[in-house]
């Protein structure tokens, strides 16, 4: 796929999602917008998969991922599902769409991902210093690592804690 095609796909999907996010919560479809357990689990599974895919691709072919905007394409499913969360919050006219345990588990996931990212970024920095890594890829590595660890840790805490 060429860079131009990927850009067009991204713009069209994001535009459609934004229009849907504005229209649907104000339409008759709003009654179908409900937060549930499946959606919460799916979001975190998707976050883990997208994060892992992005992380692997950013390590093995960083230049292609940046040049072809592949990283934006990888996070697109995750971004769309979070947009759906916003639609639910908008339709229900409340900021809190999660229950207290889900919020608690997300906080736990955030703490784990913060701790892991310090170590991971230290490794990235050492590889950069040794000339094994280009400078431009650090953000992608940070972003995808955080996404993977946050989603996986949240899912683990939700199921087993």
């Amino acid at each position: 796929m060429e860079e131009k095609t990927i850009k067009i796909i991204l713009i069209v999907v994001i535009l459609a999602a934004v229009i849907a996010a504005i229209i649907i919560p104000r339409s008759g479809l709003r009654k179908y917008l409900r937060m549930n357990e499946t959606l919460f689990v799916t979001t975190n599974v998707l976050g883990t998969i997208c994060g892992l895919a992005g992380l692997v691709l950013s390590i093995i072919m960083p230049a292609t991922v940046i040049r072809l905007h592949l990283w934006e394409l990888i996070i697109l499913p995750f971004a769309l599902i979070y947009m759906y969360w916003l639609m639910i919050a908008d339709a229900q006219k409340k900021e809190q769409v999660l229950d207290e345990k889900q919020e608690f588990n997300m906080s736990g996931g955030a703490v784990v991902s913060w701790c892991v990212s310090i170590v991971f970024m230290g490794l990235v920095f050492s590889q950069y210093q040794n000339g094994n890594l280009s400078g431009g890829v650090w953000f992608l590595l940070f972003f995808f690592q955080t996404l993977t660890v946050f989603s996986a840790a949240t899912l683990y805490f939700y199921k087993y804690k």
Binding site: D99, Y158, K161
Partner: protein, 73 residues
């Protein structure tokens, strides 16, 4: 100090209510009820009170302290 609860007993006494049905009635996820019953998750005061009110019981009949710590001398 741990927090114990009688949620499973109360659920069964309440017409063999499922975890799903209790979760829906209280407005939380089923996983929250599972974790509460297994003693893995400590609820907020608000959630504990909502559960007690749902079962029409005093809070102490739903939640109780186990492994009481030794008082400081």
């Amino acid at each position: 100090m741990k927090l114990g609860n009688n949620l499973k007993i109360l659920r069964i006494q309440n017409g063999n209510m499922t975890q799903e049905a209790l979760a829906k009635a209280i407005g939380v996820s089923r996983q929250t009820i599972i974790s509460l019953e297994r003693g893995r998750y400590m609820p907020s005061t608000l959630l504990a009170l909502r559960l007690a009110r749902f079962f029409n019981k005093p809070l102490e009949d739903v939640f109780f302290i186990i492994d009481e710590e030794q008082p400081l001398s």
